[in-house]
């Protein structure tokens, strides 16, 4: 909260017409994923001339709701970005809508169970502008496919010639997690020689993933592929593997989903055989959409209200090296704006494109 206050003070100097956007992050301020997301968002806000305030719910779902409630008061922003998880979206959207704050859901979208309560954007809740989520299936699918390919390449098959895989899900309830898992299933359908022995939910926790991996590796000693819903799960599983006398990248292959320096490093040193990432940029892309909306270019007109875009890229060592090299580079987000680029028909939120610097 404190860094955001500092940002707020800095932004007072900006032109008065700059729109104020508040973002409620479900995680901690120092959480790597959300820190990266916040950094990208701030970069985009600076490029687009938006006044951004970021609030962290510190992994407390109730705090997410109470933060929205607080923002209906004197500190009311012009726009609100919510990354609601754990089933708090309905309450957050309702609160914001009641206060008349235009709100965009980002990172997490409406789940089937919530659909009845929320309906479509701008219908039941007129101030709910829409949603932008990464195409999460991509992450699961891309990483699984790369993992399987690597396994096949290395020939890590059991006596029956099958590749045995175990999977560590982030969880079974969060929308993005479910979609990643679906991506995995999709890849498995393409490779019938791969047998998923068991998938367990690790609650995004490295320690839990380590423990589960330890027992799964004992339960399925012939398993050679470990698919993970996040890099932390993969790293936990790696620790367990090392403890079980397995060599990550050699006789046991890991995949992960994340865009972080640590994950990139693991790709480079071969411990991670497959890594998909880039979705952390969703917040920054949402600011692009809000900027355009604020300037009269409503995304609902040509892209619909509920956008699901492919943001993931598969990081091979070369791309990883490039990410590590480019991560501090100042990319002008205005290039991805339809207001600034009237010729742009559709938003291109792919990470590769971002790294390229053009849509």
């Amino acid at each position: 909260m404190r860094p955001s206050v500092v940002l707020l003070l800095l932004l007072i100097a900006l032109p008065a017409q700059a729109a104020r956007v508040a973002f409620i992050s479900p995680g901690h301020a120092d959480e790597q994923y959300w820190a990266g997301a916040a950094q990208a968002m701030q970069q985009a806000a600076d490029d687009l001339g938006l006044q951004l305030e970021i609030y962290h719910a510190e992994r407390d779902p109730l705090r997410q709701i109470s933060l929205v409630r607080e923002l209906t008061g004197p500190r009311r922003p012009d726009y609100l970005l919510v990354a609601a998880d754990k089933g708090t979206l309905v309450e957050q959207l309702r609160t914001a809508d009641a206060a008349g704050i235009p709100t965009l859901a980002v990172y997490n979208s409406v789940q089937q169970s919530e659909r009845a309560a929320l309906g479509r954007p701008r219908q039941k809740l007129p101030h709910w502008l829409g949603s932008l989520i990464p195409q999460a299936e991509d992450a699961g699918y891309l990483s699984a496919r790369a993992l399987i390919e690597e396994g096949l390449r290395k020939g890590l098959v059991d006596p029956q010639g099958r590749l045995q895989m175990i999977a560590l899900y982030g969880d079974r309830s969060t929308d993005s997690s479910i979609r990643r898992n679906q991506g995995l299933q999709q890849a498995l359908q393409e490779y019938p020689q791969v047998q998923l022995r068991q998938a367990v939910s690790a609650d995004w926790r490295r320690d839990k993933a380590q423990l589960q991996a330890q027992h799964l590796l004992r339960r399925y000693p012939q398993a050679t592929l470990v698919w993970s819903g996040s890099d932390q799960l993969a790293f936990g599983a790696m620790q367990a593997a090392v403890a079980e006398q397995r060599v990550p990248g050699k006789d046991l292959l890991f995949s992960a989903i994340k865009t972080s320096d640590e994950a990139m490093g693991a790709v480079l040193d071969g411990r991670l055989s497959a890594l998909a990432g880039g979705h952390f940029m969703a917040g920054a892309w949402a600011l692009v959409m809000l900027h355009d909306y604020d300037h009269g270019k409503d995304f609902a007109a040509d892209e619909g209200t509920e956008l699901e875009r492919a943001m993931f890229s598969l990081f091979d060592p070369a791309l990883a090296r490039r990410y590590l090299r480019e991560s501090g580079r100042d990319i002008d987000f205005r290039r991805f704006s339809k207001v600034h680029n009237p010729t742009l028909a559709q938003y291109n939120f792919g990470f590769a494109a971002f790294l390229r610097g053009s849509p």
């Binding site: 367990v200 939910s201 423990l211 589960q212 027992h215 799964l216 004992r218």
Partner: protein, 577 residues
């Protein structure tokens, strides 16, 4: 058998036994209860385990399969939270170990083991659930049950004890105490009121009444017995008194007898070996003892001399005087009561067959009524008479002895001492002379020409001649210690103690002169008359040699020979050596 004086009421003993019985029963009941509770708890635990298997096992299987440690931990804690469960340990086949908070370290026996199977493929064993029963719960339940039972038994026992104690006190203790007090008062002498048991009026009777009646009967018997005993005691006392008097009488008699015996034996003992002159005091003492013992005023003995005259011999008391004659009114042997002098006297008389006799008289009021007493007195009299006899015999014997002695030591012809006497005396005189440091002298005398005298005048005249010389010598030496003896034939000797040589010579000279003065004619002698020659030898302590009588005699003899050789009728003195 009673060994101690400690009183322990029946009631207390009974109650104590009741208490121990209750304790045993209570203990048994508690054991039974404990067993039942244990069974129940075990069953409950088994039911609980079954329920756990039903409710928790599927969830555990899912959790194990999905490796949901928190969920498993939660399940495990839920199971451990059950009342009958102390702790739970879940172990997967892959080595996952989850235990309830209470079982940080798994200790003790596992009470139940539930296998956890994979719901998808039941053959696959995912792990096992080990359940530890909560023994403290069991202990608590058992304690509670035991406590309950103890309270029950204690209450029941207390009530029963109170009831029994009260009944015993009222029905047994109090009446028995009264009966005991009544019995303690019972005695054969005095009648006692029957015990008042203070029991209510009733139309039945019980053991207590029987006991009371029994004691009353006993009391009556006691009274009867007491009366009989008193009568018997009185008879016995009379008998005893009689016996006492008899015994006293007998004792008196015995004492009398023993008194007599004592006097008899004492007197006899005293007089067994008495010299004649000691008889008088001994008999005098006997008379005094008798006088004292018999309580007589006087006591005396008399003897009848050859003139048939009675004369008092020994007297005690002042009635008679020894030596005086007395008259006996009638001379009856045996004993008689005489009116003697001032009063009655008891007299015992014995006559011998030669006209002599003895008499024993007791003066004063003698007791002679008792035949025994008379017999004893007679015995005493007999003894005294015997002693008198004995006294006479002793006197006679001593006279005879003195005569015999005189005869044995004297020369029958001259009446001078003989050679034996000389031999006896000379040793004594020698010792005396040496002891007193006095001189001792010996005269040896020989009649001159005596053979010729005999030849001329005959032996009868010779003997007369010797008798005359002997009378001469006897007349000259009459002092104590001077002993003239006839050694044999016409030879005489005189021992002269305290005579030195001169005195002895003078004495010898007197002898020669005296014999010559007899002027006894002797035709065969040169002088024409009888003469003697004397040899003198003397020993004085001044002599430097010891006194040797034989040597002295020899010297005297040698002097005599010298006198003979010198012409006879002369005295020669042996020179001192």
């Amino acid at each position: 058998m009673i060994r101690s004086e400690r009183f322990r009421p029946l009631r207390r003993r009974l109650l104590r036994r009741l208490f121990w019985l209750a304790l045993c029963c209570g203990g048994l009941a508690i054991c039974g209860q404990t067993w039942l509770v244990y069974q129940q708890e075990t069953e409950r635990f088994e039911a609980g385990v079954e329920e756990i298997g039903r409710t928790h096992l599927p969830l555990l299987a899912v959790g194990l399969w999905d490796l949901e440690v928190e969920a498993l931990q939660q399940q495990v804690e839920q199971i451990a939270a059950r009342k009958e469960v102390a702790s739970v340990v879940l172990q997967s086949s892959t080595g996952l170990l989850i235990s309830s908070a209470a079982a940080e370290q798994e200790t003790g026996d596992v009470d139940a083991v539930l296998p956890i199977r994979n719901a998808r493929s039941p053959d696959e064993l995912l792990g096992e659930l080990r359940i530890h029963a909560d023994d403290s719960q069991l202990d608590r339940t058992i304690l509670l049950a035991a406590g309950q039972k103890i309270v029950e038994v204690a209450l029941f026992t207390g009530l029963i004890s109170l009831l029994i104690g009260y009944s015993l006190h009222r029905e047994l203790h109090v009446p028995l105490k009264r009966i005991a007090a009544y019995v303690a008062r019972l005695s054969p002498q005095k009648p006692a009121a029957p015990p008042q048991l203070r029991r209510r009026q009733r139309d039945w009777f019980d053991e207590m009444d029987l006991v009371t009646r029994g004691f009353e009967t006993l009391h009556e018997g006691l009274l009867r017995h007491g009366a009989e005993r008193d009568a018997a005691m009185q008879a016995l006392a009379a008998e005893r008194d009689l016996l006492d008097s008899r015994v006293a009488q007998r004792t008196q008699v015995l004492q009398r007898i023993s008194g007599y015996q004592a006097i008899l034996s004492r007197t006899l003992l005293r007089c067994v070996h008495l010299r004649a002159d000691a008889f008088a005091p001994a008999l005098q003492q006997a008379l005094e003892e008798l006088c004292e013992f018999l309580g007589a005023r006087a006591c005396a003995m008399a003897e009848r001399d050859e003139k048939r005259q009675w004369r008092w011999r020994l007297v005690r008391g002042s009635l008679w005087r020894a030596g005086e004659p007395l008259e006996l009114p009638n001379e009856q042997p045996g004993w008689s009561l005489l009116d003697c002098e001032a009063g009655q006297a008891l007299v015992f008389v014995r006559y011998d067959d030669v006209g002599g006799g003895q008499l024993f008289v007791l003066g004063g009021e003698p007791r002679a009524g008792d035949a025994d007493e008379q017999r004893y007195l007679q015995m005493v009299a007999e003894m005294l008479f015997s002693l008198l006899d004995r006294w006479q015999s002793a006197e006679a014997l001593e006279q005879t002895q003195a005569e015999l002695e005189r005869l044995s030591l004297s020369d029958p012809l001259t009446g001078l001492g003989n050679r034996r006497h000389f031999e006896q005396v000379r040793e004594q005189e020698c010792r005396r002379a040496v002891r007193h440091g006095q001189p001792l002298s010996v005269l040896m005398l020989d009649v001159d020409y005596f053979k010729a005298y005999n030849d001329q005048y005959g032996h009868g005249a010779g003997d007369d001649c010797l008798v005359r010389i002997a009378d001469c010598i006897r007349h000259l030496f009459q002092r104590a210690g001077e002993l003239p003896v006839r050694l044999g034939g016409e030879e005489f000797a005189v021992i002269l103690p305290a005579y030195d040589s001169d005195l002895a010579q003078a004495a010898a000279e007197r002898v020669r002169s005296a014999v010559l003065a007899l002027q006894c004619p002797h035709a065969g002698a040169p002088l024409g008359q009888l003469s003697v020659s004397l040899g003198v030898a003397a020993w004085t302590p001044a002599d430097e040699q010891p006194l040797d009588f034989e040597a002295l005699l020899e010297r005297a003899d040698r002097a005599l020979y010298q006198a003979k050789a010198g012409g006879r009728n002369r005295v020669c003195v042996s020179p001192l050596r």
